[in-house]
Amino acid sequence: MTMTTTISGWGNYPRQESQCTKPSTAALLRTAVNQEGSLLARGMGRSYGDSANAHKVLATSYCNHFIDFDERTGKLTAESGITLREILTVIVPKGWFLPVTPGTSYVTLGGAIASDVHGKNHHIAGTFGQHVTSLNLVLGTGELLTSSKHENADLFHATCGGMGLTGIIISATIQLIPIQSSFINQKTIKAGCIESACELFEENNDATYSVAWIDCLAKGKNLGRSVLMLGEHAEEGGLEIDLKEPVAVPFNTPAALLNSMTMKTFNTIYWHKAKAKPHHAVPLMPYFYPLDAIGNWNRMYGKKGFLQFQCVIPKSDGVANMRKLLTEVANSGEGSCLAVLKQFGKANDSLLSFPTEGYTLALDFKLNESTMQTVSRLEAMTLDMGGRLYLTKDAVMQESTFKATYPNWEKFEAVREQYGAIGKFSSMQSKRLGLA
């Protein structure tokens, strides 16, 4: 059941020698908590940095069973190791969809809760945790406890977004949303600069889904030029779902292939090719999970891996501040072709949940010394602007930045203390950020 392996997040940095236990049933997952020393739950390892790294991890992948699905009410209960992808195969044909989904379907239910993930509908639907009606957590004491907004609410709000540091989520119930079709009516709008992109988000605040792909290498008057993609669930087209197996990137490609020239070309072509389009129907899977078509695309960054930087900055002065961040990125000339801009709605009650009202920017940096410095400058700027970084993407944030930008961290620690998590659950990230 246990073996020693090297693990890492999706960014392949940092790597960690780890004793990995993969219990074959939920009952064994629960008792595995009783082993010596401190532990951490690990799902699909789609967090980018060291959030899911620890000396001892408990893999949830065999605990991937549906427990109950009420097709009339859209309430779904499942074990925590099930992936959103598996959930989709069952619910979409029955006319239901995830209330919130991240940009990949290869994440577990437990991981989605622990990172309190957001999707393109954050401005309307909030985060994943807001749709969890209850969850079962194994505490450091080995006890199994149910929590929800109404029951053990303090534990619930520490666990949603709590990065596995309160215990092991064994199972959870979520409320799905009804759909009439497995298609999305997509509308594409081009924005010539960051100011106009932010204006467009404002104007389209009632769109169910909105996100912008942003060319973060464009400078000057083109700075922040983007393609805004809006979406609404269609009413026609049927409920079929097409799950193609991804095309694999078989090994780490030489990082040189991904130099700034090729990225710049890619970005320019993408921007010019994108056409402003009125509503047209696209299937769910490519709309929500375009990157899932290529398995292990993270290997394209080579052996050393990459960092993802995702910040949110407050709405006031948001546009001017976003211009500053993008200028920094553009000047570095090192940003990726994968940059995403989105307007967030209001924050929620979960203690370490990332989204707050404002603008969020996410992009990759191929790892080297210079990009490390760029990311660290971006971290400092975000701190100055009153923003914060997303824990599930982070591999390098300083303890001081974390504590200054997540003011609820002390309350979080108090809840952990109360429920026996301190000393029992920790990650490489939690140690770096100065959590007990």
Binding site: M1, T2, M3, T5, K22, S24, T25, A26, A27, Y62, H65, F66, I67, D68, F69, E79, T89, V90
Partner: protein
């Protein structure tokens, strides 16, 4: 809608086969010894689309109850279209070498218990002149190797037994499918370091379900194991015995 009896239903490979059948709306009867585990699987299969799932608990080494097991399955399913036999344990070779009891227990689990069920099912299907029987054997049964010949010889018995049964039942329109997986990443092999030769249970399950549908006789999964085993079987003993495999 097919009616499937799965023996050793808590096996990861069997469970992935069951998920494929569930998605097609088939009916299943699951037999396993871990009650809680098989209940979890049954609820899961229902959500995944199985028309009906029933369960039965038995340590399969209790061969005295195999007849009853099949009667209960017939009651639950009406008549059985497919039987999949998947239970097994990866024997601890070192322990077996030091203990007759351990060796015989492993042969009991991996060969004799399966042969007991096969004997009973063969007669039932032969009389009915229909049905498919699928057994998970192993590449380990193709040639005894120093590191796992107890397990290997048990699987060899299963392979040979099903080969004979296949000939016998061919005349009665009953297909017998022998599956020889290579290395599969399941709880059975959780302590092994995984490399290029390893397959996912979901991929193996797809091949198994397809082989049953196509009434195949014997398959290696993944198929490249056929090549590996051809070479391994052809190696002359004066070389083979010097190897550490």
């Amino acid at each position: 809608m097919k009616k499937v009896l799965i023996i050793g239903a808590t096996s990861a490979i069997a469970e992935h086969c069951a998920r494929i059948w569930a998605a097609k709306g088939d009916v299943m009867h699951l037999v396993a010894r871990n009650e809680q585990h098989v209940q979890t699987i049954a609820s899961d299969l229902k959500v995944r689309g199985a028309s009906e799932v029933t369960t039965y608990y038995l340590d399969l080494n209790n061969v005295g109850r195999h007849e009853e097991l099949l009667n209960v399955a017939d009651d639950a399913l009406g008549s059985v279209d497919i039987v999949l036999i998947a239970h097994g344990t990866l024997s601890n070779q070192i322990k077996c070498e030091g203990s007759v009891e351990e060796t015989l227990a492993e042969i009991q689990t991996n060969a004799l218990s399966t042969i007991s069920i096969l004997t009973l099912i063969a007669n039932r299907f032969e009389a009915r002149k229909s049905g498919a029987i699928c057994v998970i054997s192993s590449v380990a049964g193709d040639r005894g190797r120093s590191t796992n010949y107890v397990y290997g010889s048990a699987k060899a018995m299963v392979t040979t037994f099903t080969s004979g049964m296949r000939q016998r039942l061919y005349k009665s329109n009953v297909s017998v499918v022998t599956i020889k997986p290579g290395f599969v990443d399941t709880p059975m092999t959780s302590e092994f370091t995984k490399g290029l030769l390893w397959a996912e249970p979901s991929a193996v399950a797809e091949k198994i379900v397809k082989a049953i549908d196509e009434k195949k006789s014997e398959i290696y999964v993944p198929s490249f194991w056929w090549m590996i085993m051809v070479i391994l079987k052809k190696l002359p003993n004066f070389i083979f015995k010097r190897l550490d495999l």
